[in-house]
Symmetry: C2
Subunit: 572 residues, 2 copies
């Protein structure tokens, strides 16, 4: 911003000279009044100069459509899409999303801070604005081996950098409430850097919640009930209504929204899969869901524009008003939210669902070839029990919560004998430092026969996780993942199939449609190999290592009992 | 903020240790839900640690009263109270005000930036938090001699200092809309410093308003109608509903507030006189007026708490929530807003209308003895006309707008002869540099007989303005103002009375009640000396020099015609 551009903006606004672009006779969402108004929107040097009666070098007319400020996803992880930032943008931007607040928690757990820097650089090649939150929990738990560790001291240093817009969701809410030095040190770092800190406080309430909020957690996206949302809201948190691929909270929470408090909600996806993005959409889908849940379209749109901008202090965002960035999306209406065109900085970047940009850059060394395992063989998957009763991870349909089961298990020749049972071997192989750490366990309810499935997406440290009934197939699956530099692999009936996730073993550098097609094929093959209905072949697998969701998990360091929050023995 | 205080806050919030102070069983305004809730409010290290069930070293119970975040006056000039910052605080704080956004426009026009620094230092001795805006229009017009000049370059430099919270109301809105370099340069300075810039745009609309808003004016407190307010609001301005001593806009504007847009309004007094503060109140009075105008008490209170805090980016202000500063006021209810107690930073600072603090400091040289005039004598007030028709300033009842009259005026011996007419002499004597500049004019409708009235409060450059029918009395009044270091003086029937405004000739260092008593006595004497009903003896006088209000004004450089925006001749 300099005096010349100030003058030009004033000249355009005052009608003394033509705008670069004018959306003529636009119905537009006035977010300040929560009403649709009509006027010409004049754009100059990438910003909105005025709304009224204007002419421009370029003029367009979108008829009865409604122009809405660019949609903001208030909290998400790009890695969950398994797409590169560029491919994610190619799906999200044509749906009306122009800005996401992204926590690169997964890639930083693998590659350290260089992973986040790659996301920032890759996103910068697209029109999508990515505000990066510095992951607060690397590693997510001390019970697994992650590729990086960020201390409170690192956090304080990194938050001073422009790369990071704020502190990512503080998932270690018990530590914050307990007054733990490291956890509070990270919250303090955000405060001293004058940057927002996201919260993550499922079912937290009362004095514990007060302790979390007083430490600086600004948002929460983990509410399960309207009552929970209202408690958090009244303590000053922004409540992010989440509608992702796995978590569908919006309908449950919409009852919390009323005409007095609607300005304290924002919308987010948290985790959204590539196929859902392609088929259902991104924030446009969240908006449709909000409207179906009974929230007025104007109010829903406000939540993912003005409210999100205010929540995060995003200057010049979230509104169609003089001085704001000319980021806006043209929708059929405020009910179906079919996106006709998207503008970022006054440039048309998408039209009729297609991106008008194509961005692709090389991958830096830091995010490539991130699968470092000590060579594994079938013998590594041998499970030697001391008796006949074993602690088994029980997978349940349609939930990530597992049960901790005690099962009778036969053994022969120093290994378990699983034929004729619903049990499978599970291994988590440390893949960051080739330490040779392998955690072994047993799983019930997954349903694969005659082979193995494996992935390098294993929350949150993203070691290699392998499931199967055949030790040889498990070794083959591991080898395949090493060969392709990370991804998902299926070995069935001697045949090896895989989908590469060449970026940190988490994301594919392929175009979105290519990756989605590959993934669908692999998922279908896994289903054909016996993975049960109600179990997502690879997603379910990737959460079996997350030592914070009840009841029983497996990390590279061993079997973990979430209730007692400590390691346990497979021998029950 | 350090890790120790973070830990302590978390400990108190989580109930692991006692709070410093707990307001037990408080009804409190939850600004996020716009509802009154009930809970113990726990305070630790000056901030709110938690709301729920707490115990504290000190506990109090305010029964059925309602605890409201400390009230914020979103735009005001302390100088208008004619009180020192300390005395102003002694009246405003017991009414529930804990923060004011103050533009020291008047004192800076007299003393330059040292005037603002004095306000900041004096306010810092009180519990009242004063966010100082850097005056944007010094001088207000180029048609008068002010005590200081602030260029765009000065503005850029000063806005980098912590002393200034933002840029004060940009009254030269035509220059901004016209793209004037100096005016835009000041707006640019605010933007580059990432600080708010207040607007002032009476009756501005359409493309001119767009040009003003695009340049960065965030607020407007000059709306006259609901329609005007709604236009400004929908362009992204915060609309400040003003209820001051002279301007009573709230009732006119309350119709603009609805359940969708109420978060974009704040409340302000702009100019409030000492006696009104003492008798009617400060923001508590504005709140009562808002409720009488049909705005729900919760919403009105939100406007001068959360909304004001968001408008200006005041972190930790405007809410009763964990992490916020423990600034709150205890009111009888949300209708009468009788203030029972006020806390700032968790300390009780007022109770039952009385301040629990007394602050008084010395005056720095920069703000004392600011009346520098070349000695004047009766002859200086001689008005020599070339003919018998003169251009006369016509004072009207109950408005600051004057009329430009043409009157037949007799002369004798090289001077006007005013006996038997309603005409008086008016003189504006430059008082900053003793330049000897004197502007002379004639006034009709004021009503003083046999004497003179004078003041060093003469908007906006605050030269000495003297009105009278007796040249000798005028010289005596001027002498008295010099003697007392500025203030208000009345000479009537040979008797000289005065009220000192020893701080820059604008404000009194006396205690509020002393100043108010003196002022009332002087006003009564002026009334007794013939000043007409419907004319405020000294306030009316002080606005006769303001060359931006129609129709005819007088500055130290001469008679000014506002319609043609240029000097004019007394000879018509």
């Amino acid at each position: 911003m300099d005096i010349r551009s100030m003058k030009r903006a004033a000249d355009v606004a005052a009608g003394r000279c033509k705008a670069d672009l004018v959306i003529k006779r636009a119905n537009y969402l006035d977010v300040f009044s929560a009403e649709v108004r009509r006027g010409d929107i004049a754009v100059c040097d990438g910003r909105i100069a005025g709304i009224g009666d204007y002419s421009g070098e370029t003029e367009c007319d979108f008829g009865d459509c409604v122009v809405v400020p660019g949609l903001i996803d208030a909290h998400m992880h790009i890695e969950s899409t398994q797409l590169s930032p560029e491919s994610f943008a190619s799906l999200a931007v044509p749906r009306g999303t122009t800005l996401v607040v992204a926590d690169p928690h997964e890639i930083v757990n693998v590659c350290g801070i260089e992973g986040a820097r790659h996301i920032a650089r890759a996103a910068a090649r697209t029109p999508l604005q990515v505000k990066l939150m510095l992951p607060s929990c690397v590693p997510a738990t001390p019970f697994e081996t992650s590729g990086a560790v960020l201390t409170a001291e690192d956090t304080a240093k990194l938050l001073r950098s422009k790369t990071f817009f704020g502190l990512g969701e503080m998932m270690n809410y018990p530590a914050v409430a307990a007054g733990d030095d490291e956890a509070l040190g990270k919250m303090l770092a955000a405060r001293l850097a004058d940057k927002p800190a996201d919260g993550h406080a499922p079912a937290m309430s009362g004095s514990q919640l007060n302790a979390y909020v007083v430490s600086g957690a600004r948002t929460d996206h983990e509410c399960a009930t309207a009552e929970e949302a209202l408690e958090k809201l009244s303590l000053g948190m922004y409540v992010l209504l989440r509608e992702g691929s796995a978590s569908h909270d919006l309908a449950n929470l919409s009852g919390a929204v009323n005409e007095r408090n609607f300005r304290r909600f924002a919308l987010c996806t948290d985790d959204r899969h590539a196929d859902d993005l392609a088929e259902e959409g991104h924030m446009d889908h969240v908006l449709r869901t909000a409207v179906k849940s009974g929230i007025r379209g104007e109010i829903a749109a406000l939540m993912c524009t003005l409210n999100a901008a205010e929540c995060y202090g995003l200057k010049g965002k979230g509104a169609i008003a003089p001085g704001c960035d000319a980021d806006f999306a043209v929708f059929s209406d405020l009910k179906d939210f079919n996106c006709r065109a998207v503008f970022v900085g006054g440039k048309k970047v998408a039209e009729d669902g297609r991106p008008l940009f194509s961005a692709r850059g090389g991958l830096p060394r830091a995010v490539k070839n991130t699968v470092h395992v000590r060579p594994v063989s079938a013998d590594d998957f041998t499970i030697k029990l001391t008796g006949s009763r074993a602690r088994v991870i029980g997978i349940q349909r349609d939930t990530l919560v597992t049960r901790s089961l005690i099962e009778e298990v036969e053994s022969r020749g120093g290994d378990v004998l699983l034929e004729g049972t619903d049990l499978l071997r599970l291994a988590v192989v440390e893949r960051h430092f080739a330490s040779g750490n392998i955690g072994l366990g047993l799983v019930k309810g997954y349903g694969l026969k005659d082979g193995a499935a494996a992935t390098t997406v294993a929350h949150d440290s993203h070691n290699m996780i392998i499931i199967g009934d055949d030790r040889q197939a498990m070794a083959q699956a591991a080898e395949e993942l090493v060969r392709i530099g990370g991804g998902m692999a299926l070995v069935h009936g001697g045949r090896v199939m895989s989908v590469p996730l060449d970026i940190a073993g988490l994301m594919s550098s392929a175009r979105a449609e290519v990756h989605i097609a590959r993934l669908k094929k692999l998922q279908a093959a896994a289903r054909a190999a016996g993975v049960k209905e109600g179990v997502e072949p690879f997603m379910t697998l990737s959460f079996l290592a997350l030592a914070v969701i009840p009841e029983l998990r497996l990390t590279d360091r061993g079997l973990f009992d979430v209730a007692s929050f400590g390691f346990t023995d497979i021998n029950a």
